[in-house]
Symmetry: C2
DNA sequence: GGGCGGCGATACCGGCCGGGTATCGCTCCT
DNA sequence: AGGAGCGATACCCGGCCGGTATCGCCGCCC
């Protein structure tokens, strides 16, 4: 199986339409049909059911879709990491760290300071990404190491070290009745009709249904809370540097959030190892 | 990057010789040279240093070798899992469990019994492999789930659940002076000149240097111990069903061995989930 | 119900690229 | 100095990849 074929299959499996997939791939439809046909012939199984109601993935097709995505990620990662290893040889080596924008900022700062103080430390490029995006960055090689937050982020498939565990607080506009309470229950804030929880985009870019406003980053969120249009449940560390129009109240029964540092298991780089060592020593 | 190119590069990087690699690949040397050259051109970096003393991997080449192996494993896994999904659709679904030959046999038996008792349980094919081979089986799709033993086996890159933890014992021929002791220290058995520890093959098939006899499986090992030519340090559970010519003595300071059940993280199969559930409930 | 539109499969063709053989250039060793 | 070993280059051929044209089939709608 060539990566070209896997790319074709993923494209077709994603929009379940040969013509559109071909257009997306910048090619004509017939060679695409043939490529998929060849794949099916060699695997000895149907991958797509050609019904009169359009295409459907067969069981084998669904399996191959998942596996093919993993392969393509690995190929992309191989390319990127090789290129980076090449530039590292002709300059100072650099390591790319992915972190959720607007989270764990002081932990991150301390980590960068601590690692930079080590002798022979590599340069650290920090890339800030959207919620839940870090694992993609690690998978496809755009990052070498990442800060993740359990249980929100999926850490499966990576090596991890736990760095810190913390409770969660609800961020409210100043003056809200709940703001005076020493702590609240999760149920008390999830159902507030005047302050609905915002909706974050799913990995595919769409939003779940619900009453809350759509939100793409922390700035939007802060603004919405100040405007009294939403509230948010975030890890304790998110209250540092809070605008004075906002108050934070601990949520007693919210799940604890564990910040972990994660890296691809087969990656054996001294720079990543140094970062992990610095992080666990914090 | 096509998988064909990656296969070529791995072959060349492995024996650091274009001619031999080409022969191994069943092709002539010139197209192989060109393929590697093209890879280097597109990546914009040298992968192999062509010195007068033969080939050397550059830093980028070493990175690509590691990444390419991961990609090729993933491709192989994709192919195998798709094929298995296809036959599962036209018959009873099966899941492949990899376990070290001769280890955790009663745990394995209990696990298989417990899972088989579940409603809707899939058929479980057990594949017994050499020490440390299980993770390769998981990586390249020959197995869906495996029993591993920390700290001997590398569990990185898999999701795992701990099943059991146990100490280790040294297996001695009956009548050996140490056999009467309630327990021994690790240092007391590693240096026995008359009973050297056996040498197991490394993943590449070669043996480490040392005085001990070479051993490839548990039968050979048992025989050697009975003959008084070796001793062995194994997990406690290995003493069950011991031949009466052998005695086991606890090793007080040997690292504890944890048996874990492991599976590839992206794998979402009800059969694997059921096995894991049955295993943790034991 | 017939025509039409949409979609995937098939037929056929041309160009590129992957793989082959022959040979060169270099280095090292004798 | 000469030959052996090895990788790079030159050149050729065939197959496959990708293109256009067209078919077959199914729904839909007037």
């Amino acid at each position: 199986m060539e990566t070209r074929e896997l790319k074709y299959f993923v494209a077709v499996a994603e929009d379940l339409h040969f013509g559109r997939a071909a257009r997306r791939l910048g090619m004509a439809q017939p060679p695409l049909s043939r490529a998929i046909g060849g794949l099916e012939r060699r695997l000895g199984t149907l991958l797509l059911e050609r019904g009169s109601r359009g295409l459907t993935l067969t069981g084998a097709g669904a399996v191959l879709l998942r596996e093919a995505r993993a392969v393509l990620d690995a190929v992309e990662a191989a390319e990127r990491r090789t290129r980076r290893a090449a530039v590292a040889a002709t300059g100072r080596p650099a390591v790319v760290l992915a972190a959720k924008a607007g989270a764990s900022s002081e932990l991150l700062a301390k980590l960068l300071d601590a690692y930079a103080a080590e002798p022979g430390a590599a340069a650290v490029d920090v890339v800030l990404c959207g919620p839940g995006e870090q694992s993609r960055y690690l998978h496809d090689g755009r990052a070498d190491v990442a800060l993740l937050h359990r249980p929100f982020d999926d850490t499966s498939g990576f090596d991890t070290e736990e760095l810190r565990s913390e409770g969660q607080v609800v961020i409210l506009p100043a003056g809200h009745p709940l703001g005076a309470r020493p702590h609240v229950r999760l149920a008390e804030v999830t159902g507030l009709p005047d302050l609905p929880l915002p909706r974050w985009p799913r990995p595919d870019g769409t939003f779940p249904d619900g009453p809350g406003p759509r939100v793409r980053d922390h700035t939007q969120l802060t603004q919405l809370i100040v405007l009294g249009r939403a509230c948010a449940v975030v890890p304790e560390s998110g209250r540092t540097g809070l605008s004075e129009n906002l108050t934070a109240v601990p949520v007693s029964d919210a799940p604890r959030v564990t910040t972990v540092i994660a890296w691809p298991p087969q990656l054996r780089s001294t720079a990543v190892a140094g970062l992990v060592r610095a992080a666990t020593a914090l």
